[in-house]
Amino acid sequence: MSQSNRIPGGLIDRSGTLSFTFDGRSYQGHPGDTLASGLLANGVRLMGRSFKYHRPRGPISAGSDEPNALVELRTGARQEPNTRATVAELFDGLSAQSQNRWPSLAFDALAINDRLSPFFAAGFYYKTFMWPAAFWEKVYEPIIRRAAGLGSLSRLPDPDVYDKGFLHCDILVIGAGPSGLAAALTAGRSGARVILADEDFRMGGRLTAETQGVGGLSGADWTAQALAELSGLPNVRLMTRTTVVGAFDHGIYGAVERVSDHVPVPAEGKPRQILWRIYARRAILAAGATERMIAFEDNDRPGIMLAGAVRAYANRWGVAAGRRVAVFTNNDDGLRTAADLRAKGLEIAAVIDSRKGEEVTGSAGRLGLRSIKVRDGSGRTRTVECDALAVSGGWNPNLHLTSHHRGRPVWDEAIAAFVPGPGGPAGLLPAGAAAGHLTTHGALKTGAKAAAAALADLGHKAAAFDLPEAEDAPVSITPKWHVPGKGRAWVDPQNDVTVKDVKLAHQEGFRSVEHLKRYTTLGMATDQGKAGNVLGLAVMAEMTGQSIPETGTTIYRPPYTPVAMGALAGRSREKDFKPTRLTPSHKWAAEQGAVFVEVGMWLRAQWFPKPGETHWRQSVDREVLATRASAGICDVTTLGKIDIQGKDAGAFLNRVYANTFATLPVGKVRYGLMLREDGIVMDDGTTARLAEDEWVMTTTTANAVPVFRHLEFCRQCLWPDMDVQLISTTEAWAQFSVAGPNARRLLEKVVDQDISDAAFPYMACANITVCGGLRARLFRISFSGELAYEIAVPTRYGDAMIRALMKAGEEFDAVAYGTEALGVMRVEKGHVAGNELNGQSTALNMGLGKMVSKKKDAIGMVLSQREGMVAKDGLRLVGVKPVDPSQPLTAGSHFIAMGKPATAAHDDGWLTSVVYSPHLGHSIALGYLKDGSARMGERLRTVNLLKKTEVEVEIVSPHFIDPEGERLRA
């Protein structure tokens, strides 16, 4: 098809041709076109169906406020619904589809909704799907869900990447129309660091769309001159295709840059979009204004557009919205459309000026406008044949960002529109049309002025900005909101809200603007009220007999335009969702075929399958049995390590641990229990005294960061003069547990010192050397219950160390064991871990009540003794074994007395940790049981209602292995 509606002029590149398709048909456009201008140039004005009534719709605007022309762009995984054709930059090969229609855009079966419209008035869903309540989930919700929504998702993973980025500037200028350019020139020339961001792919704002010149040049030429100067300034950054979507606290702005949306596929490695976090000391809101419709019967037909948009299509894109155009306006701006089109040789069918008592009362044309009905001042009605109607109901300043901190707009009678009110984000200065200065002169002047004010604030001297000559005609608006009539007159075309709906809301008492919005859906969805909010409000004001400012206004929240979820996620998706921490033995473990598990950000070896092992339990059982029989080696680097030094370190540890530390001799390790101030256990671990004033604390893997934070709090906020210094050394040392009866013999082959039991008894620690001189730390501590050591070497030697240990262990058939075997052995030994340290449990619950020293003040000591926490019959840690050894236990099961029903009233506690003990040959568990210590030998049921298991168990000591601790002292 030829570009039948292409007319001369415009800022498109006619030397290039772009082919694109819409609903499968091929069209051609030019570089500089949007999808909407390209389609209009080809005579296509039907671009979508409305949300509720499935009415045929075409674009009404030429910008991001477009409520109608929403299309699906691209195909396959890149298919994107609800894209505004008016801002979609045309590229060669673009494929677009209409949406919310079936089977085709021209014939849509659900257009029946339009005939049924009396049933779909405001509040329809609230009223219809009320009863019976039982129908809601099974019947109504599926029906509503099927009918809801506009476009469809691809349901495939997004193949593109999105970046996040950070920018800093003195002055962020939002919008590159006349006011933004004047602001950027003023600020840029002054040497301030400036970012000029515009959502369009071409800067200039209305200067690209109007025929009035600036300073003797055309708007486009003046813009080009300004941009040439700005791009030569090293302190100015120009960002096209960049929408500032939100104003956040203290000068932080969010902006989305569409880097690759105008190309078929992003270049290799390049992002599709970038979400910028802009730190701006000051910002100038030069976002312009949005024109609004006048509501009249059937004012939503394709071909009925905003007057400024019709002008923009003609002047910027060389596109005639129609061949015979009528204009309906309540202000002088609409008259410009008539003048500009006439100058382009287009026929003006009529100019209907409501200020003269004329009005448009209706329209005809099934899939596009054919004629309008006009009533003149004397009440006579005539029909005017036209294929386009340009409507101007006045302009609304784009003040959205000034509302992002709950600032309320105020009514400006002179332009009959809301302008930015008080309470806007600190440091954000509105200028130009966004501030209600609707003339080019006003825009240039206030843009420069805002920049000067911002510069003065920042202590810069503003450079001169000689105001170029520009039009300064008054708006001369006499508000005309809607034309009374019987038919439906659209207020918010996107949500199919009509004047009648607003009246109904009023009639039913939903009169506050917030109620109006929620009852009628006015201003919801992608355009967020840009098209219809003020109009709806004005109609409501008319109903209530109040003025518009009395009626109030809803405020706007971020984002200004829709933001893709991918942009918000950035690189944090799939395997890059979070960083991965690797243990020092990772490379070696991977070579062994270890199965890894995520523990926080860490990847830890979970078990090490051997050839022939087909089930994880085979590997874990083997690792446990081999360790208990001879020796096992495990990477325990992930445990937090905190270096604590200073003369008061011992006294400090006394305060942060519930038990006593200051008396611990040099060369010894002690298990410590750390409480929160409310008396609940926070963390546990061993702390070693390596020298008189040098200690190393270990924390659980999960709590390494919170414990460090807590210790810094204690050090800085509670006892600021204590001589204590802290630094994390988790990453500095590769630490391995060597456990089992042959642990010493194994280690003796590696370490350079005497580690006999006499020289290095249970709970000893020392700085030693290994393998002929590498400095290392050795701790004789045991989590497994076996004779065990932990040996630490500088991390870069961790890989070599695990290899050396495994080699030394060959003669003992030593095994590497993973976190599963570690877990089995600690449960067998009755040690608490994460499942028991659940943020609700006390030392007493864990059977460690005696560790809480009352002879000294320590964090949590006082409140751990609260009445409710020391109850004699409170929860106590117990061991649990099934009466029938063949029965597996289930973690999370609750204790219920024999013969009692499995209800909360008879809940006696729960199983915290369950493992299969290969040593005992049956399932074992730890659990919290009411008055547990007094119930040894008792039989109970453990019931898991979720997994539907029930097992009869016997309560035993939590120490399944070596209760006297002979092994670990061997």
Binding site: F248, D249, H250, G251, I252, Y279, H405, A426, D648, A651, E677, D678, V705, R709, E712, F713, Q716, C717, L718, W719, P720, D721, M722, K856, D857, A858, M861, V862, L863, Q865, R866
Partner: protein, 95 residues
């Protein structure tokens, strides 16, 4: 938000971890008479002002300083930022 760190200048609040009311600095002595009541009040009773609030922030992705930030909870305006250690010392806390 931006927190104007006393040593490092303006820093994004994302670098910080929030704890809460700066009154947590005033920890009672556990060995004092009436400690149980004092700790109850210290741990569990908080004002929740709509307006100026002194609160503790930890510069976790920074210099590991605890700060006392005076922030308006309604407007998020920050009027004062101090090193918590200095605040603690000024309150007479020592060892």
């Amino acid at each position: 938000m931006i927190i104007n760190h006393p040593l490092l200048g303006p820093r994004d609040a994302q670098e910080f971890v929030y704890l809460g009311d700066a009154r947590l600095i005033g920890r009672p002595d556990g060995m004092d008479e009436g400690a149980a009541q004092a700790f109850h009040d210290h741990v569990f009773l908080r004002d929740n002002p709509a307006g100026e609030h002194r609160e503790l922030w930890f510069h976790e992705q920074g210099d590991r300083s605890w700060l006392v930030v005076t922030r308006n909870t309604v407007t998020h305006e920050i009027t004062k930022v101090e090193l918590a250690r200095d605040v603690a010392r000024a309150l007479g806390r020592s060892k």
